[in-house]
């Protein structure tokens, strides 16, 4: 009976998730939370892909989701590594504390 949920609902949900993630990146100051928000945006995109894949009956969207998952994992790894490295210079995870570069 769940098949009757229309496509537009999934698309709306993923658009909302994407917006929440994007807003979080712009508003939150904790780098770890910013990373989580970026992850949320990626997963919102995944939901869009899966929806369209089902709707269009094509496998391309699902393949794309695999690629996005792999890339998202690598991005998290690199982001955490950069954060650990920055943390050695400055005991903080707040974005506003990283202000050595200015014009």
């Amino acid at each position: 009976m769940l098949e009757q949920v229309p496509v537009s609902h999934y698309l709306l949900l993923s658009a909302i998730l994407f917006s929440i993630g994007a807003g979080g990146v712009l508003i939150r100051r904790n780098v770890i939370i910013v990373l989580m928000c970026i992850e949320m945006m990626m997963n919102a995109v995944n939901l869009t892909f899966i929806t369209f894949s089902r709707y269009l009956d094509s496998a391309t969207g699902q393949i794309f989701v695999f690629m996005i998952m792999a890339v998202a994992a690598v991005e998290v790894a690199v982001g955490l590594a950069l954060l650990v490295e920055l943390n050695r210079h400055k005991q903080s995870v707040n974005i506003d504390d990283f202000n050595a570069l200015k014009g």
Binding site: L2, M69, A70, A73, V76, L80, A81, V84, N87, R88
Partner: protein, 118 residues
């Protein structure tokens, strides 16, 4: 439309009721004889030394990073494994190339001491 989600509501109500009811029954039945030893946070453990909210070693994150990269491997190998019987033999070569590349990464991390816990 809403009726279709009826069973979700029923399921939610049941899952909430069962633990609450069990806790209430236990509270009614159990004997109440408190003493200081029983009131400890860790009734049969040792007390924590220093602050509980310590920062984890950075090393822990390195493990997490290596894990994150390798657990994605399964996403790619699983469809391959499912379709294995229908695939020609030389597709196995590509899977092996994939694993060898990942192994190269593991070897690199190993030699660099990322798996060594101080």
């Amino acid at each position: 439309m809403l009726q279709e989600f009826e069973f979700l509501g029923v399921l939610g109500a049941i899952t909430l009721t069962i633990p609450v009811v069990t806790l209430i029954i236990a509270w009614l039945l159990r004997p109440k004889k408190p003493n200081p030893a029983k009131q400890e946070t860790y009734e049969s453990g040792i007390k924590t030394i220093g602050d509980t909210w310590v920062q984890f070693k950075a090393q822990y994150y390195i493990y997490a990073i290596i894990f994150v990269v390798f657990d994605i491997e399964a996403v790619f190998l699983f469809p391959f494994a499912v379709a294995l019987r229908q695939l020609p033999l030389y597709s196995l070569i590509w899977a092996i190339v994939f694993i060898v590349l990942l192994f190269d990464g593991l070897l690199y991390g190993w030699r660099k001491g990322a798996l060594h816990w101080n």
